[in-house]
């Protein structure tokens, strides 16, 4: 068991090193949410109410992009390149590998949440999060949910060339419908219905409660429940569909 943990840690360390060794990718990874923040911050700089919607919305989007998008890309790439197959031929337990990879994604999520929270506090006066524990709970559940959905979704993507199309086709509609850039209370009924069935809407609600509204976790259990349900779905499909090898064309 310790061996499994040690190998997971080594894999995590390697993933971190490799992540920073591609500085431009790392830079844009962290810059993107800040660009969004700067853009909307400038647009709504006098409108405190809008900013209170935008900051948790962008935080939730950051959770999705660092886990769902990143893992769907990486798994597709590593499978196509044969890296997963190579690793499967070694004595490293599969769980150590997945823990190392997930740990890498979670670190990126955490860094982004810190950057967004700090930027919100320093530049836009949104204040520090009201409920730190609630924030942690929603970030953790959100990461587990979107990380597993990202790995599961990589099974659907046939090859790396088509990965951007597949991922964007999910990412942008979900971001748009779930109310990252506007208060979804104002959206038409059918859109709200779709959004409420998806996990991102509920992650935004949870982060919003923790970061700006200060409503307690117990009043957001329904949101937590929906994200947890998607996590179960994601984990089942991520594990069951996991393929180490590129399927034959």
């Amino acid at each position: 068991m310790t061996d499994v943990a040690v190998l997971a840690w080594r894999q995590y360390r390697l993933e971190r090193r490799l992540f920073w060794r591609n500085p431009s990718a790392a830079f844009f990874n962290f810059l993107l949410p800040l660009l969004f923040l700067a853009f909307f911050g400038a647009a709504f700089h006098s409108d405190h109410k809008e900013l209170r919607i935008i900051v948790p919305g962008i935080a939730a989007m950051a959770v999705m992009s660092t886990t769902f998008t990143a893992l769907a890309y990486n798994m597709t790439f590593l499978r196509e390149q044969g890296v997963l197959k190579r690793i499967r031929g070694t004595p490293m337990p599969g769980i150590s590998y997945l823990l190392g990879v997930a740990g890498n994604a979670i670190t990126n999520t955490t860094l982004q949440i810190v950057i967004i929270t700090t930027a919100g506090r320093v530049f836009f006066g949104t204040g520090w999060p009201r409920e730190w524990a609630e924030l942690a709970v929603f970030v953790i559940v959100g990461v587990v949910c979107f990380a597993s959905l990202g790995v599961a979704f990589s099974h659907v993507i046939p090859n790396f060339d088509s990965a951007p199309a597949y991922i964007n086709a999910v990412f942008f509609p979900v971001v748009a419908v779930s109310g990252v850039f506007f208060d979804s209370a104002h959206s038409p009924g059918f859109m709200k219905g779709i959004a409420q069935a998806l996990p991102l809407y509920h992650l935004i609600a949870g982060l919003s409660a923790a970061m700006v509204k200060g409503t307690s976790l117990s009043s957001n259990l329904d949101a937590l429940g929906v994200i947890a349900a998607w996590s179960v779905l994601g984990i089942v499909f991520a594990v069951r569909g996991f393929s180490w090898d590129q399927r034959r064309a």
């Binding site: 190998l7 080594r10 390697l14 090193r17 490799l18 060794r21 591609n22 390149q81 044969g82 890296v83 197959k85 190579r86 499967r88 031929g89 070694t90 004595p91 490293m92 337990p93 090898d245």
Partner: protein, 322 residues
């Protein structure tokens, strides 16, 4: 397991993909410490067989034992004791040679010294190079290094030299021979006949999912039914003549005696034994692989008449490859 037990024992192995049977009941044993070559054209079932032995694919039926393990169950101890070079595998984009070897080595209970492995495959001076900037041949050597860093007892090499230039192939052969000197068992697949002949202790030729012949490369060439020697020369009018015989001494005596009597030379006289290639071509219906061979033997036109060397008895290549 005892030392006398074979490293690999395959009995009645079958693998079907839907209606298509890629492997149709094959048997072979690989002894400990030998280099065993699986030879055959593309699509013959080599890679399917090897990937079943490596634990990547499940067999449809048959008995398979690798180092005493059932590879289909992929126990961790089994994976710790084999090294695998797949036909084509990538690596992380931003990993360095030494870093990759240290990382993969750390997955094994008793890894080899990284510098030793680097020297063994000839990657000295490339320790800090990014894997993706290595040349094709160097990357293949890194593949081999990654398979060896866990100090495995058994090494699988799936077409280890495909795409190499002739010099790089010779170097790779030396490395594979040195594995045998280290006491490793090697299972190699190749579609290069000269490669099997050069480095394998024993060879099985696989065709349409079946093993059609098995034995030492030198024995296969003189198997039952095949004429033992082939004598070729150009006669007085410059026409190429080929004769087959089981008694080259008598035939040569007759030929040279008659030529001397007529005052002729037997230009291009050669005596060769059937090579693995002859056997291969005969068994696989004359189809060699479409991959160009690295060193095709030139066949001189009948009209030009430089004196050819008389080849030593064994192993001369005489058929032009397509």
């Amino acid at each position: 397991m005892s030392v006398s037990e074979p490293a690999i024992d395959v009995r009645g192995l079958r693998k079907a993909y839907g209606d298509f049977e890629a492997v149709r009941g094959i048997d072979f044993q690989v002894r400990r410490g030998e280099v065993f070559g699986l030879l055959g054209p593309n699509g013959a079932g080599k890679t399917t067989t090897v990937e079943i032995l490596e634990g990547y694919r499940e067999r449809t039926s048959g008995e398979v034992s690798v180092l005493g393990f059932d590879p289909g169950r992929r126990p961790r101890e089994f994976r710790a004791r084999v090294g695998i070079v797949l036909q084509s595998t990538g690596l992380y984009r931003h990993i360095r040679v030494r870093e990759a070897l240290l990382h993969f080595g750390s997955m094994y209970p008793h890894p080899r010294d990284v510098d030793e492995v680097i020297a063994l495959v000839g990657l000295e001076g490339k320790e800090d190079t990014m894997a993706r900037t290595l040349s094709g041949g160097q990357r293949r050597r890194l593949d081999l290094a990654l398979a060896l860093v866990g100090d495995p007892e058994l090494v699988f090499l799936d077409e280890p030299t495909t795409g190499f230039d002739p010099a790089a192939r010779r170097t790779a052969w030396d490395t594979i021979r040195s594995l045998r000197d280290l006491g490793k068992t090697v299972l190699l697949t190749t579609h290069y006949l000269d490669e099997a002949q050069a480095i394998a202790d024993r060879v099985a030729i696989i065709q349409d999912g079946r093993i059609v012949i098995e034995g030492a490369p030198s024995e296969l060439g003189s198997g039952a039914g095949a004429p033992r020697y082939r004598v070729a020369y150009r006669n007085g009018t410059g026409t190429e003549v080929e004769r087959e015989t089981d008694d080259p001494t008598t035939l040569l005596h007759e030929l040279t005696g008659a030529a001397l009597a007529r005052g002729e030379r037997l230009d291009g006289l050669s005596v060769t034994r059937p090579t693995l290639e002859d056997v291969y071509l005969e068994l696989t219906g004359g189809e060699t692989d479409e991959t160009p061979a690295p060193a095709p033997a030139p066949t001189p036109a009948p009209t030009d008449a430089p004196t050819e060397e008389v080849l030593p008895l064994a192993g001369g290549q005489r058929r032009r490859r397509r």
